[in-house]
Assembly symmetry: C2
Homo-oligomer: 345 residues x 2
Amino acid sequence: MDNERRWYEKAGEAGDVVVSTRVRLARNLRDIPFPSRMNAAQRAESERRVRDALFQSNSPIAGDFDFLQIDAMSEQQAGSLVEKHLISPQFAAHGKGRGVLISKDESISIMVNEEDHVRIQVLREGLALCETAETADRIDTLLNESLHFAFDEELGYLTQCPTNLGTGMRASVMLHLPALAERGALSRIVSNLSKLGLVTRGTYGEGTGITGAMVQLSNQITLGLSETEAVENLRNIAKQLVDAERESRAALLGQIRVQDRIARALGVLQTARLLSGEEFMRLSSEVRFGVTAGMLSGIDLADLNALTASVQPATLSAKAGKALSAEERDVLRAETVRKALRGVA
Amino acid sequence: MDNERRWYEKAGEAGDVVVSTRVRLARNLRDIPFPSRMNAAQRAESERRVRDALFQSNSPIAGDFDFLQIDAMSEQQAGSLVEKHLISPQFAAHGKGRGVLISKDESISIMVNEEDHVRIQVLREGLALCETAETADRIDTLLNESLHFAFDEELGYLTQCPTNLGTGMRASVMLHLPALAERGALSRIVSNLSKLGLVTRGTYGEGTGITGAMVQLSNQITLGLSETEAVENLRNIAKQLVDAERESRAALLGQIRVQDRIARALGVLQTARLLSGEEFMRLSSEVRFGVTAGMLSGIDLADLNALTASVQPATLSAKAGKALSAEERDVLRAETVRKALRGVA
C-alpha cells in the first residue's frame, strides 16, 4: 500500500514535526537570454534542449518522467500542481508555452522557463535534507552533461535574480510547530532565525501567512557558502526546532484545555457539512498534534498528509473535474474529511 | 423503561417545541401571618398543619409523597431540586426550618412557608396544561379539606404578593424556539405577548436570560380571569408559537449552513473534554433541533431531556457526592455528555 503512495501521502523522519523537505536548484543555459527576455523561438529552443537532456540521456531516471504542458491543462489541474508544490503559482498563472517535467511519484519536478531556464525541485516527506539534496544534485549532474549550465568561477551558477546567484540552491523544511506557536515563541524564533541567514514563510511560500502552525524554513544565503554547508546549517536548526517543539508539546499535553481543544477539533472535522480550507488547516493542525501525542488513534500522519493534499482548493476541483464554487468546495472538502476521519477517536 | 423515568426524563405532546408545562398555586392559611412575618412557632405550626393535611388525608395520593427538610440536605442536593424546578432558588437559599413535599416521580412539589404558606406545583413533559392544571386542582382540593385556605369572595385567594391575588395560579410552558430565534423573531413575539397578559422568561425564571432558545411563557394576570380562562389563553398562544416555530424550522432545515451548525454542535458535544453549562445549553439546543427534524438519529427528545437535567451544575455535584469546582464540573459534564451521545449521528 505505502509504496503506491506519492511522497506527500507518506510521513518521514521526525514526521511529528517535519512535514516535508524541499530542495530546488536554479540553473540557466549559457547562450540563451534569461526567460524574462526570451522570444518565442528561444523559449521553444530552451524547452527542447532541456527535454532532450533528460529523455535522450542514458539514465534510467528518464523513463520515470512525464512532460506536462501547462496550457494543455485546466486551471484546476495547474492549480493542483501548485498546491502539491510541483510548480510555482507564477508558472501556473503564465503557463502559455511553458512545460514541466514531473516524476511519476511527484517527488521531482523540473520547471522549464520559469524565472530561470531550469528549476530542479525535489520534495520528500519528513526531515530528509541530505537525501533530497543528493537527488537534486544527481538530476543537476545528469542535465549538465549535455546542457553545460551557465557557471562563473567567481560567482558560481548565474541566475536571473541575484539572490539565487552562487549555489542557486534553496533548501527548505516545512515544520509543524503548534506547541511553540501556542507558547507564543514563534515570533521570537523567526526573528532569531533571520539573523542566522534563514527565512521563514507560510505554507505556500513567500507572502503567505502561517496557517495551522505550519512554518516553512529555508536558507537565504546562496553566495559564499557551499551547498553542503547551507544544508548542514538548515538541518542543525531544524533539529533544534524539532527538539524545542517536542519539549513544548509534552508540557502542553498534560493540560485538559489542550486535550479539549484537540478533541473538539476532531469532533468538528468529523461532523462539519461546510469546511473552508483555512478552517481545515487550523483544525487539522490540532488533530495532527493529537496524533503525534498518541492521544488520537485510527489515523496516522501519512493519512493526514494525504488528506491535507487532497482537500486543497484546486485539487478538489480537479478531482471533481470542473471549477467548483467556494461553497461547493467547502461541501466537498467537508465530505472528504468526514469520510477520512470516520472511526478516529 | 419509560415508566421508571421521572417526568423530566420524558418527552410529551408537541415535545418538539414544548419541553415542559408547569402550574403552581399560591395558598395561605387563614389564621397565621404570611411567612415573611411568622415567628418560629408559627412556622412550625404551619408546616405541621400542611403535612397533616396531606399525610392524614384518606387520599391514596398521600403515600406517593416524601417530606424533605431543606436544612438536612447538602447545598448540592438543594441546588439540584432548584434545577429540577421543584423548589425556588429563594427557598433553597433560606432553607432553615423549611420543608417541601415531593411526589416520587418528582412531578408534584408542595413548598411550605415559601413566599406563601403553601405553594403547590405540578410539572409535566410537553404541552399538558389541562392535565397539569387538573392535577394541581386535585391537590388544592385535598389540602383545602382540612386547611381551609384564606379566600375572599371579592378578591379570591389571598396571597402575600398582590400579583398572585385571585386565582393564585401561574401556569407556564417551556418552549424551545431555535428557528424563531434564528429568524430574529423572538423579541417581536415577546413584546406582543406581554400585551396579551403573558410574560416570557429564561430557563430559570425571572431575571434569567434566554439560553439555547429556551423561553418560558406564563400567564401574568391572576385577577378578573378564571383559572380555566388563563390556561386556555396560554394554551392557544403556545399552540400558535408551536405552529410558527415548526414552519420556521422547515424553512431553515433546507439550508446547508443550518445543517452544518447542527452537525458541528453534535461533533463538539461528542468530543469536548471541558463543557460549561452555558455551552451545553447552546449546543444541545442545536442538537435538539436536529433530532426533531429527523436529521440526527440514535437519540430521542426524552433522552435529551434526561441528559439536560443530569448535567445541571448542582445535580452534577449532588451525583458526585461533593462540591465540585467549576472545572471539575465542566470535566464531569463533558464526560456525561460524550457518553450519552455516543453513537448519535
